[in-house]
């Protein structure tokens, strides 16, 4: 029995490594796309971050450095969340595009491990991309951030990533259920999540029903915690107020994400959608 468990565990770990390995090969093979996409993300972030200087030029009494950092954190989290959702959605969408979906889904790799492999890669890749984005734009604006508690910000991001992965798993199944519209629905979910979470503004300016939604969005706590850590140097004691809701949402989101994907896969197998042409 113990030998069987060890065998299965080893098999699953090797499979998880295979998922990461495949994504790494793809990054290497599409390196120019990666570079172009990164430049586009930097440009997109700059259009948002320059708003702070624009307001000052228009006569508004704002602390430019502080507002620039607030906007930059919003843009970086938007980019990070986009990467997590994109990579997880590729669990189905890219596989279908390449025609490999049937081979991957008939391999003896458990679906949770498959999804965790995609998630693990997404977090590693997302952290590198988001870190580079933050560094490049902060450098361009000469932001010094003397009080920043970067370790605290990373802890908040790490805990928030668990919730993001759970929600990403729920959206990843959409292209399986609806081959034509599934990927776009994933973008809708990402946009809605950030709109209600105070990505570039305080949650308090939102209408009441949106404020209620913000309380169940992990991005709300991630943005607030990371801003507190970077702008005010908040320690873990202060950040706990944002970390514990993230832990609670993550504890619910992962099982919910896995179950949603399981049901979606079953639906696809019942209706013949688990194939390259949908």
């Amino acid at each position: 029995m113990a030998r069987q468990v060890a065998f299965t565990l080893r098999h699953e770990l090797v499979g998880l490594g295979g998922v990461v390995e495949r994504n790494w090969y793809l990054v290497k093979r599409y390196v120019w796309w990666e570079l172009a996409f990164f430049v586009w993300t930097v440009a997109n972030t700059l259009t948002i971050v320059f708003i702070a200087k624009g307001l000052r030029a228009g006569g508004a009494p704002v602390n430019v450095d502080r507002l620039t950092t607030v906007l930059l954190i919003g843009a970086v989290i938007w980019a990070y969340l986009g990467i997590i959702f994109e990579v997880l959605t590729e669990t189905v969408a890219w596989e279908r595009w390449e025609g490999t979906i049937e081979y991957t889904f008939m391999a003896p790799l458990s679906r949770p491990v498959h999804l965790f492999g995609m998630g693990f890669f997404a977090v590693c890749y997302g952290v590198v991309r988001a870190g580079l984005l933050f560094g490049v734009v902060a450098g361009l604006f000469g932001l010094s951030l003397p009080d920043a508690n970067l370790a605290g910000a990373i802890v908040v991001l790490a805990v928030a990533s668990v919730s993001f992965l759970g929600i990403g798993m729920m959206t990843a199944v959409l292209p399986l259920v609806s081959p034509e519209k599934g990927t776009q629905l994933g973008f809708v979910a990402q946009g809605v999540l950030l709109v209600v979470s105070g990505v570039y503004y305080p949650v308090s300016v939102l209408p009441g029903w949106m404020q209620w939604l913000s309380t169940i969005s992990p991005a709300t706590y991630a943005l607030r915690g990371i801003r507190a850590a970077i702008l005010d140097g908040a320690g873990l004691g202060t950040l706990w107020g944002d970390v514990w809701p993230l832990l609670a949402i993550g504890a619910a989101a992962i099982p919910l994400g896995l179950e949603t994907f399981r049901r979606g896969e079953r639906y696809a197998k019942r209706h013949g959608k688990l194939k390259r042409s949908g």
Binding site: Q4, Y25, L26, G99, E102, Y103, M106, L274, K275, R276
Partner: protein, 278 residues
């Protein structure tokens, strides 16, 4: 992988009883706005394949061949009937079946920017094979299928269809499947590549003691490779027996004549209404 394999000497490789699979499809002749109808892709199919046997299923496009393959490879759920692969139910014991089965389809299906080596490497991880195990195995298998060593690192998109299909065979063999499902593996190949693939299938069967289910509409291929040949027509298995017996039954001198006698149609004809099932 051998630790979880069943005692394959006691059970048939494949045992299918009254297997039925329906899909909801809009029928062209009903008009654009007509409601979808439930149409049987497979209708009460029953057969057994013994261990080590090679069985070919002939059928026109839309006859249900690919549906049968996808049911046995755990990519579809059935509506009624039973199927067992070495004693395991492909609809409930998916993991056990997936360890025993691999397939080669009409489309080679790879990540096209990745090389043959990279595609085989990540795919083998899903079956629990580590880098240490595949470092020598992948070059060996690619050499066996006649793939030139100097092209192992080239992106798949640079390779001919014949070359890609050889890599698909290598991918299936890499995992040592005891049941190999071949879905029109030589369709679209030039005569030389077709012959090479067929020779390789014969070698695999002789050396690996693999059981083979070959779905094709190539009569010569079926006659050359299979111990028994079946005819699938509109989702129903009309017959399954050795070629000589089939010719006697339909009083025909060729397989083509036997197919026509059994179905009332030539093998090259397409069933437009049912084409969606393949």
């Amino acid at each position: 992988m051998t630790a979880v394999r069943p005692d394959r000497t006691r059970v048939p490789a494949v045992e299918v009883r009254e297997l039925r699979k329906e899909f909801r499809r809009r029928v062209k002749t009903d008009g654009r706005f007509a409601r979808k109808r439930r149409l049987p892709a497979l209708n009460g199919v029953t057969f057994t394949i013994e261990r080590g046997e090679c069985v070919a299923i002939l059928g026109r496009n839309g006859s249900g061949k690919s549906t049968l393959i996808r049911l046995l490879s755990t990519l579809l759920l059935h509506d009624s009937g039973t199927a067992l692969v070495f004693g395991h139910d492909p609809f409930t014991s998916t993991r056990a079946v997936r360890r025993l089965v691999n397939r080669v389809s009409v489309e080679a299906s790879f990540f096209k920017r990745m090389s043959a080596e990279e595609n085989l490497a990540y795919a083998s991880r899903f079956y629990g094979l580590t880098h240490g195990e595949t470092d020598e195995l992948i070059p060996d298998i690619l050499a066996r299928v006649g793939f030139p060593a100097e092209r192992r690192g080239e992106p798949m998109e640079n390779l001919s269809r014949g070359m890609q299909q050889k890599v698909a065979l290598a991918r299936a063999l890499l995992t040592s499947p005891v049941l190999l499902l071949l879905d029109e593996p030589t369709t679209g190949l030039d005569p030389r590549s077709k012959l090479e693939v067929q020779e390789f299938i014969k070698d695999v069967r002789a050396e690996h003691d693999a059981t083979i289910l070959l779905c094709t509409h190539d009569l010569a291929e079926a006659a050359a490779l299979a111990d028994r040949v079946g005819i699938l027509d509109r989702g129903e298995l009309v017959c399954l027996e050795p070629v000589e017996s089939l010719l006697r039954r339909y009083d025909a001198s060729t397989l083509e004549a036997a197919f026509f006698a059994a179905t009332g149609e030539a093998l090259g004809a397409e069933d437009d209404e049912r084409e969606v099932f393949d």
